[in-house]
């Protein structure tokens, strides 16, 4: 077994290692130099397409069909996407391994799961006219550079919304890059454009010149953590500066005449420059190391290192992680290195093993930890085992040790080794695995249709498995050519009883394949009523969809179905559909009242709901600007109800309403005052206030207003008009249907005590004390006294005396005396 340090390289103060992961990657006939190669983050798939500017070797036998090919890192072809439209300007990946292909007219196709299905969108903002020059991608978005130096950013793919960034100055963009929104202080994407001699920073709001002089910069690249920027200056130097352009950290002179083909970061500490078959690794402080290859080199940066892909090898170049350095560095005296040596000695059955342990006894727990972590960094299974053995040996000596990390690491390594296997081709580093999360790793496996491995890993790590089954079923539906019943049976047999399975997704896949019947069949197994609805609508099962929507209780869904239904089917059958479903009818009614009253009218007509229909006309009459149309509407409303006897009161009311309008119209003409809009009572009141008693009386008889009401209205109107004479006249009458007390109260309230007092004797139904009170309110204590005297109420008299003025007291004293005498 070769030493792990064999492929280490010292660059400055740090060690870098280049791990060969796969060999004989691509078909030797594939001329990789003619392709643009883009790797997905976290050691994901690699997309190849033939660049426009690359020369085609003329081969008569082979017609050149453009395509985008997706390979695993091990060179296994996962999928070939034939390309038929437009010139590809950029291909990129998102964090969840979604492939994005951008053409020169700004059309973007987004392939979600490494399959051929895509969702298209366009970036707009003038991309059609000016054309897309290139794109830069980050974890979940990209920026496109257009021919007129406009920049368009797309920040999410589930609902892409291309956003135009601040405009950049004109001039040729020599090189450019983006800093993802998560890594900027403004939380919006920043674009660095090398134009002329300087670099511009553009974000959503503004464009700022950084005032550099050493341009034009051929290459510009930002580090994975967004803190540093590497620039390739015009005079062949590489600068590493802070992303705030404040400080320059290192400078390196390549002394090569031709500028490099590519410049990328390797982790956050080093920069890699690539020429056709040569790469330079530049560490901190300008230290560098060179590597040479036999064939053309492509770079694919990742968060903790860089993948180097050539026709025959796939390598991973990274800084040697600290635990590995501690354990393996030549002459290392770290406890972990001693512990690893101990295991060697143990295997040789040498007593030195124990000596080693005793030597590092104080730091043993730390040594165990380092060994465990170093194991995670190894690609060689041999060294993984060796390190874990060392850790295991070390922890057996310790009295107390928490083995969780150890167990987790062994689990992680089993998973990593499984997916690194060349047939799978996911050479994840431990750090990438942690950042990617096991869930998303499983998703990647599922996308590669490695269902068995995905299931095994999920079960091993206790992850939910429902999505794997659903994906499998969708794939089954897409690819299987057998008859629908047996597909359905097979799927249901496999998926039934598994928790949380979404049959709706499977059914959707079936529908997309044009298998409507299969879709309906599968939908029946979906437990969530609401989820079935959109698909049922699509397959044309409207009334089932409506029922399911109603069942879900979600009114939004019901309304949605109703709106689509209304568009699809004739009105009469629409009504028939909702007729038997009261909730649906209620929703139609409540929404139609604000926007579609004609629909409502038809609905009421069809259902023979006359009262509602008539009310709707009344509703419209109210909106009518003029009396004419209002009366017409009222007539129609009355006509609707006339045939039926049960609506007689409503008909009468509608007719009265018309009559009132007629009256009011006439009054307006005669009296030039506004009457329309008033009620019957208000009309009478207004007439009285204007002194038109006769007309008011006419209204009373015409509308059969009950006497009491009329008297009240008249009383209040006269009082407000201060028409004392007329009130006095009224008071001469013998009887009032509302009694005389209201007269007293209202007139008193208006301040006419004299007139009010006239009504006191007429209130014969009231008790004596009440009447006394009334007199007092009018300020007529003497009269009150007389009242009391009549009733022979001595106490009342005494009370009155107490509140009376001096003059009145005499009077009252006289009455008291009279009362005493009378006794």
């Amino acid at each position: 077994m070769s030493k792990p340090t064999a492929d280490w390289e010292r660059v400055g103060d740090h060690f870098y290692r280049k791990t060969q992961i796969y060999t004989s990657v691509f078909d030797p006939d594939l001329e990789l130099e003619n392709y643009v190669v883009t790797g997905a983050p976290y050691s994901g798939a690699v997309a190849l397409y033939r660049g426009e500017d690359k020369i085609y070797a003329y081969r008569s036998s082979q017609a050149v069909k453009p395509s985008v090919d997706i390979y695993s890192c091990a060179g296994k072809l996962i999928r070939q996407i034939p390309w038929d439209r437009g010139t590809i300007k950029a291909v990129g990946w998102s964090e969840d391994e979604r492939l994005l292909v951008v053409t020169d007219d700004g059309t973007v196709r987004s392939y979600a799961d490494l399959q051929g299905d895509f969702t298209p969108f366009t970036i707009g903002h003038g991309a059609e006219e000016h054309g897309v020059l290139s794109c830069k991608f980050w974890a979940n978005g990209f920026v496109a550079l257009l021919g007129n130096n406009s920049l368009v950013a797309v920040a999410r793919y589930d609902e892409p919304r291309p956003q135009l960034l601040a405009s950049a100055p004109p001039g040729e963009v020599v090189a450019w890059t983006v800093i993802p929104p998560e890594q900027t202080s403004s939380r919006s994407v920043e674009v660095l454009l090398a134009i002329g001699k300087t670099v511009y920073v553009v974000d959503a709001a503004e464009c700022e010149d950084r005032g550099l002089e050493a341009g034009p910069f051929r290459h510009i690249s930002s580090s994975p953590n967004g803190k540093f920027i590497a620039l390739y200056t015009d005079d062949g130097k590489v600068w590493v500066i802070g992303s705030d352009f404040q400080e320059r950290f290192s400078e390196y002179e390549s002394k090569v005449k031709t500028p490099p083909k590519d410049l990328q970061w390797c982790g956050n500490n080093a920069v890699v420059m690539a020429w056709e078959d040569e790469i330079h690794l530049i560490g901190s402080n300008g230290a560098a190391s060179k590597f040479f290859y036999e064939s053309f080199v492509h770079l694919s940066p990742d968060i903790d290192g860089i993948r180097i892909i050539t026709g025959d090898v796939c390598e991973f170049l990274q800084k040697v992680p600290d635990p590995s350095k501690d354990v393996f560095r030549l002459g290392s005296t770290e406890p972990a290195a001693v512990l690893l040596d101990a295991i060697d000695q143990l295997e040789k059955k040498s007593p030195k093993a124990d000596d080693n342990i005793q030597l590092i006894r104080p730091n043993l727990d730390e040594a165990v930890d380092v060994c465990v972590r170093a194991a995670g960094q190894e690609y060689s299974i041999h060294w993984q085992k060796q390190l874990l053995k060392a850790a295991s040996f070390g922890k057996s000596v310790l009295d107390l040790y928490n083995s969780d990390d150890f167990v987790d690491m062994t689990e992680a390594l089993r998973v990593l080794n499984a997916v690194r296997f060349y047939e799978i081709g996911l050479p994840l580093s431990y750090e990438q695995y942690i950042r990617l999360t096991p869930e998303r790793l499983v998703q990647r496996l599922v996308n590669r249709q490695e269902y068995l491995l995905a299931l095994k890993i999920s079960e091993y790590l206790h992850l939910p498995v429902d999505k794997i089954y659903v994906h499998w079923a969708r794939q089954k539906v897409r690819s299987s050519r057998t008859d629908e019943d047996s597909i359905c049976d097979e799927i249901v047999r496999k998926l039934k009883g598994k928790r949380g399975i979404s049959f709706e997704e499977v059914a959707h896949a079936a529908y997309d394949e044009g298998r409507g019947k299969l879709a309906t069949k599968l939908l029946e197994f979906e437990p969530r009523a609401g989820k079935q609805v959109p698909l049922l609508l699509n397959v044309g099962e409207e009334s089932i969809a409506l029922d399911k929507a109603l069942e879900s209780g979600d009114t939004d869904l019901v309304f949605y179905v109703l709106l689509s239904l209304k568009k699809k089917i004739p009105l009469s059958s629409f009504f028939r559909t909702i007729n038997s479903r009261p909730v649906a009818t209620a929703i139609v009614e409540s929404s139609a009242i604000d926007q579609d009253q004609e629909l409502l009218k038809d609905l009421y007509y069809q259902d023979d709901r006359r009262l509602e229909g008539s009310n709707l006309l009344l509703y419209e009459a109210l909106s009518a600007p003029d009396i004419g149309p209002a009366t017409d509407k009222l007539k129609m409303a009355a006509k609707l109800l006339r045939d039926s006897k049960e609506y007689a009161p409503q008909v009468a009311a509608l007719e009265d309403a018309q009559k009132l309008l007629r009256f009011q119209e006439a009054f307006e003409k005669d009296l030039t005052e506004r009457f329309v809009g008033l009620s019957v009572n208000e009309t009478m009141s207004k007439l009285i206030k204007m002194g038109n008693l006769k007309r008011a009386a006419k209204v009373q008889t015409e509308f059969k207003v009950v006497d009491k009401t009329y008297w009240w209205v008249r009383l209040r109107a006269l009082v407000s008009r201060r028409d004392w004479r007329e009130l006095e006249e009224l008071g001469k009458g013998r009887k009032s249907p509302i009694g005389w007390e209201p007269f007293f109260n209202d007139i008193l309230g208006a301040g006419n005590t004299k007139l009010a007092s006239l009504f006191i004797p007429k209130c014969t139904t009231l008790t004596v004390p009440e009447r006394i009170e009334m007199w007092v309110k009018c300020g007529m204590v003497a009269k009150a006294g007389e009242e009391a005297l009549k009733a022979k109420d001595r106490n009342a008299l005494e009370e009155l005396r107490a509140q009376a003025s001096a003059g009145q007291q005499l009077e009252l004293d006289r009455m008291i005396a009279q009362l005493q005498r009378g006794r």
Partner: protein
């Protein structure tokens, strides 16, 4: 052992904090300055947890109301904050986006925040208007918002009209979603009890959602591991009691007689704020008023009603919490007491031999004292204004009719009073409330009498109110006795009574208490000075069985008090089934068990068999009145006294009053435009 504070069980403050954080986060996501367009009804709700100044800190430049249609193009970013369920609002949003886009010279960035969720219909409408691709769409999961620590509201102002008038079950679904979220947080409600057809629907929906949650949880990419969240019953919440507003219309219609209730009747309170004429309070805002969130009034054109002043009515006020729930009859003395106490405090400060230490102490107390002084001033003025209203002739007569109806006297004798009220042009809503109250209590008014009243109303208030009357009939508030028999709620299930036998229920649940104590109340009847609201009595049927039983069959003197019925609510509706059968609507009683018995058992073992503080959630579907809130607070106090640590949390779709309930039906327009 001191019972752990109930607040620990369900902390409604968390909701406020979360809602605030979520909203501000969404605002922050839009870079730079922005204009915020907000739906008017939502503005009040949002105002409960964010102040305008905070919005400004997050880059909000101007605030517009959606209904005003006056969005300008002064900022590049325009954010809409609107309820996504209402098609009408969605359409307005779409129209405004189109308008701004066509009129403005600059390129705008639109963001729409749908509350509480993005709906399919909203997508459809935006697409129809061709603006779906234009706007960045997000959602703010705003469900319950605390009005007080013990009162949560969904802030659905039109829930009553949706449910009763339009028979549109949207509020039921919204409630189910909100309660579902609560279950996710606190565990399944072990028992769901309820009364009313809509309550039944809500309970069914909750159970259905629970079974669907399994599938949802695992297909939601954001929580792959929390799948087993609420499959065990809650250890904090004991039960959910759903009261359907339709079960108890009379309580809604009756005039509330608590201080808060009357403030609502006179000035209307919305989102803990009321607007009062400056002539009542004086226009110069006392220093205290500036500390209050002085309205997040539109910063755009100057506030329309400059003569109105906003008053914050919640527990931040020094005085309000202690008087809000008192019967109005006792407010005068209460305010007097406070005034005297403050005066004596003041004299103490002045007269005492002033050592430096004393001064320091007095100085420290000064702000509190000033705040109290200001509160006292406000509430004295408010109470005077309310008293002006309660002393009026109309109020006296209305109340007389109302109380007679509630006692159960023959409504025929009261008709003359009502007729007089109509003839004297009393506000329409007052008259309608009385008629509806009669109709509800006696299951309809006799056809002939009803027609007579209808004619009088049409003549007195205008023929447009034929629509008002039709609406009331549709709501089941004002029907003829003959029609009532055949009256069927179109969305009601077949189960359950369709009418309540009020006379029987009044007796069996003691809905009328003759000698009610308004000071130091001992029974909920104090909130209506005699009438005990049925809705709260129903809650008592579950939570205070023994109390209710002693109330109904008072123990004869000498006889030992009956042994207290088993504490807790193990019985559900037990021993009141007969009464319930006489009340309209379905009865709900569901026990929710964890799907995994082992897990539930394990959980119980972990708790060590100790019963922690138990909370009952009372949910009013269709709205609650302040009087009922006051009554429930009384129940809560009694519960805490009797069985330490038990609490009530009151949840509702919105706050309602008789005026607002009737107003839903009233036709606002008149002839001639």
């Amino acid at each position: 052992m001191a019972a752990p504070p109930a607040a620990k069980a369900i902390n409604t403050q968390d909701i406020t904090v979360k809602a605030r954080r979520d909203l501000l986060h969404l605002l922050e996501a839009v870079r730079g300055k922005k204009n915020l367009v907000i739906e008017r009804s939502l503005a009040g709700t949002v105002g409960l947890f964010v102040k305008f100044s905070e919005l400004q800190e997050y880059g909000v430049d101007k605030l517009f109301f959606l209904e005003n249609h006056n969005v300008d193009s002064s900022q590049r970013n325009i954010i809409f904050l609107v309820r996504g369920e209402a098609a009408k609002k969605v359409r307005t949003v779409a129209e405004q986006i189109r308008l701004v886009r066509s009129e403005s010279k600059i390129d705008h960035d639109f963001t729409i925040i749908w509350v509480p969720r993005r709906t399919l219909v909203s997508n459809l409408i935006l697409e129809e208007h061709g603006v779906l691709g234009e706007a960045n769409i997000t959602e703010l999961n705003l469900h319950f918002v605390p009005l007080e620590a013990d009162l949560l509201s969904l802030g659905l102002e039109d829930s009553f009209s949706s449910l009763c008038l339009r028979k549109d079950p949207t509020p039921i679904f919204a409630s189910a979603q909100a309660l579902m979220r609560m279950q996710k947080q606190y565990g399944l409600f072990p028992r769901i009890l309820g009364k009313g057809d809509n309550a039944k629907k809500l309970a069914d929906l909750l159970q259905k959602m629970r079974s669907e949650e399994d599938v949802n949880a695992s297909s939601d990419p954001s929580n792959t591991y929390l799948t087993s969240f609420g499959l065990t019953p809650s250890s904090i919440v004991e039960n959910l009691i759903i009261i359907d507003r339709e079960v108890d219309f009379p309580t809604t219609l009756a005039t509330q007689l608590t201080y808060e209730g009357l403030l609502d009747e006179v000035f209307t309170i919305s989102n803990n704020q009321t607007e009062v004429d400056t002539s009542v309070l004086g226009s110069a805002p006392v220093p205290q008023a500036q500390q209050q969130p002085e309205g997040r009034s539109d910063s755009s054109p100057a506030p329309a009603g400059a003569t109105k002043r906003k008053v914050q009515l919640d527990s931040t006020d020094k005085l309000y919490p202690s008087i809000r729930d008192a019967n109005f009859a006792t407010i005068g003395p209460l305010l007097n007491q406070t005034a005297r106490r403050l005066q004596s405090d003041q004299e103490n400060i002045k007269s005492r031999d002033q050592s430096v230490k004393d001064l320091k102490l007095a100085f420290a107390k000064l702000p509190v004292y000033q705040a109290e002084q200001a509160a006292l001033k406000i509430h004295t003025s408010l109470a005077e204004e309310v008293a002006k209203f309660t002393r009026s002739e109309t109020f006296r007569r209305t109340l007389e009719v109302e109380q007679n109806l509630l006692i159960g006297s023959d409504p025929g004798t009261l008709h003359e009073n009502i007729e007089e009220l109509i003839a004297r042009d009393t506000p329409l809503k007052t008259v309608l409330r009385l008629l509806c109250l009669e109709s509800c209590l006696s299951n309809g008014i006799r056809q002939r009498e009803l027609e007579h009243f209808k004619r009088m109303i049409l003549q007195a208030y205008g023929y447009q109110h034929a629509l008002t009357l039709a609406n009331l009939e549709k709501m089941g508030l004002l029907v003829s006795r003959e029609a009532h028999r055949g009256f069927l709620n179109p969305i009601a299930g077949a189960a359950g009574q369709t009418a309540t036998d009020w006379n029987a229920v009044r007796r069996s649940l003691q809905l009328w208490v003759d000698d009610v104590q308004e000071v130091d109340p001992d029974d909920i009847a104090y909130v209506f000075s005699g009438y005990a609201p049925l809705s709260v009595r129903l809650v008592q049927c579950i939570l205070q069985k023994s109390y209710l039983q002693t109330l109904i069959n008072p123990p004869r003197p000498g006889q030992a008090a009956p042994p207290p019925a088993a504490a807790g609510t193990a019985g559900g509706w037990k021993s009141f089934e007969d009464t319930l059968a006489r009340i309209r609507g379905a009865t709900v009683d569901v026990i929710q068990k964890g799907s995994d018995a082992d897990a539930s058992n394990a959980r119980r073992t972990l708790r060590g068999g100790k019963e922690g503080p138990k909370t009952s959630i009372v949910f009013f579907l269709g709205g609650i009145t302040y009087a009922e809130v006051a009554a429930l607070r009384l129940v809560n106090r009694e519960l805490e006294k009797a069985q330490g640590g038990r609490t009530l949390i009151v949840c509702t779709t919105g706050v309602i009053s008789g005026g607002r309930a009737v107003d839903v039906a009233v036709e606002k327009r008149s002839f001639g435009g």
